[in-house]
């Protein structure tokens, strides 16, 4: 086997390897968006109950991913869950933006949905989102439903 042929093939091999890694990075991991390359800023949001929200869950507004949850911890003083949101720099939100924890699909993963408010001033990096509503926890929901269902038949029975 001639040296030049071997060099050529090894060159092709290395180029294919680079192309494969590039493909994996761009096409499967979508590295260009939300990886911190084009700048992010942090916001915080406090929730009474985060349900099944996980780190790396998307933050969406109108269904568009505008950031990711990077950290979730319990605030020691208020005993509420404090989520750190890493937001894309190109999106700015008003100071009275509201955050709620939603579920994609019936059994899908949970994400944070944002609703823009009317305040002309925007949130700065490090600010906390004040208006939040908690995740729906299935057990609590069923509990409330059962309570309602138990009370309802009792009411007409009293009126007799």
């Amino acid at each position: 086997m001639k040296r030049a042929t071997i060099d050529l093939w090894v060159g092709i091999f290395a180029a294919l390897g680079c192309a494969a890694v590039l493909f994996l990075a761009l096409k499967t991991a979508n590295l260009t968006v939300g990886s911190g390359s084009n700048g992010t800023y942090s916001l915080y949001a406090e929730f009474d109950n985060i349900g099944g929200l996980k780190v790396k869950a998307p933050v969406k507004m109108a269904g568009v991913v505008v950031g990711r949850v990077t950290d979730i911890r319990l605030d020691n003083k208020s005993f509420r869950a404090r989520a750190t949101l890493e937001m894309d720099k190109q999106y700015q939100f008003s100071r009275d933006v509201s955050a709620e924890i939603l579920t994609s699909g019936l059994l899908g993963e949970q994400y944070i949905g944002l609703l823009q408010g009317g305040d002309p001033d925007n949130l700065a990096a490090g600010d906390t989102i004040k208006l939040t509503s908690s995740a729906l926890v299935l057990e609590q929901l069923i509990g409330k439903f059962m309570l309602n269902a138990a009370e309802k038949p009792a009411a007409p029975a009293d009126s007799h």
Partner: protein, 262 residues
């Protein structure tokens, strides 16, 4: 009588244990020798390029074909399971994650061990049997720098490339089955995958895994070749040992790495 036979049993066990420890120490010293002498062979990089051709480029066909089929099987099996839970849309995420995290690095390494590792062992073993290594030593050519180190580094460098190609072909295979044959939505397939796959945790960790497997397989292959009995029988049993030991080492290392990474 019974006492002496049980003594023999323990003696045989102890003998094997000592031999195993001795061999492990020998592998470590051999590894150190490769690292010490690899400066010379990395300066003469054409030697490594030649071995990358034989170990890496010639393994590409088997990697491409098996990656494709593994991806297609993942597509079929994943679909038939996911569709029961009404989440067939997640097929892209399933195929990509299982390939990138486990199947890509592990299967590519197993194929590499049986395709190239065995060839390296047979080649070095035969060089030893035909006294070429001794001849080199007589000519003041260090056989570890000239023969062993280039093959070791070629294996280390080829393995991540092969694993990446395996992953890409597997994802294409899964795409072919999921989107072209079954008719899932093209956009959902990719967007589900992109939501699930993370550059650092999944892709970089997979590449680190394949780098470690490459080093392990290459070290085992060159060691078994160098350690082979210089007979036809010795070379054949060394080749077998390479494949068996590599497979066990890859699977054990995979468990350890997964436990640390994910």
């Amino acid at each position: 009588m019974a006492d002496s036979s049980s003594r023999n049993l323990f003696a045989a066990f102890g003998h094997r244990l000592i031999e195993a420890v001795w061999k492990l120490g020998f592998v470590c010293r051999f590894f150190a020798a490769i690292l010490r002498d690899s400066g010379a062979s990395l300066r003469r990089f054409p030697l490594v390029i030649r071995e990358i051709y034989f170990a890496g480029v010639l393994s590409m066909i088997i990697i491409v074909v098996s990656g494709m089929f593994v991806g297609m099987v993942l597509g079929l099996q994943g679909y038939s399971t996911l569709v029961r839970f009404g989440s067939a849309d997640a097929l892209g995420a399933l195929v990509a994650l299982s390939l990138l995290r486990e199947l890509g690095p592990v299967l590519a390494a197993l194929l590499f061990a049986s395709r190239s590792g065995s060839a390296i062992t047979a080649e070095i073993g035969l060089m030893k049997a035909t006294e070429q290594l001794d001849a080199m030593a007589v000519m003041a050519v260090n056989p570890i720098a000239r023969v062993v180190a280039p093959r070791f580094w070629a294996g280390v460098l080829s393995m991540p490339v092969l694993a990446a190609i395996f992953n890409v072909m597997g994802i294409f295979g899964g795409y072919f089955v999921g989107v072209t044959l079954i008719g899932l939505d093209h956009g959902t397939f990719w967007s589900q995958m992109q939501n699930a796959v993370d550059w650092h945790t999944d892709i970089v960790n997979g590449l680190i895994k394949s780098l470690v497997f490459g080093a392990a397989v290459s070290l085992i292959a060159v060691f078994e070749g160098f350690d082979a009995k210089p007979t036809a029988e010795g070379v054949s049993s060394a080749t077998t040992r390479t494949v068996v030991t590599s497979a066990l080492t890859i699977l054990a290392l995979d468990f350890v790495l997964t436990a640390f990474m994910f």
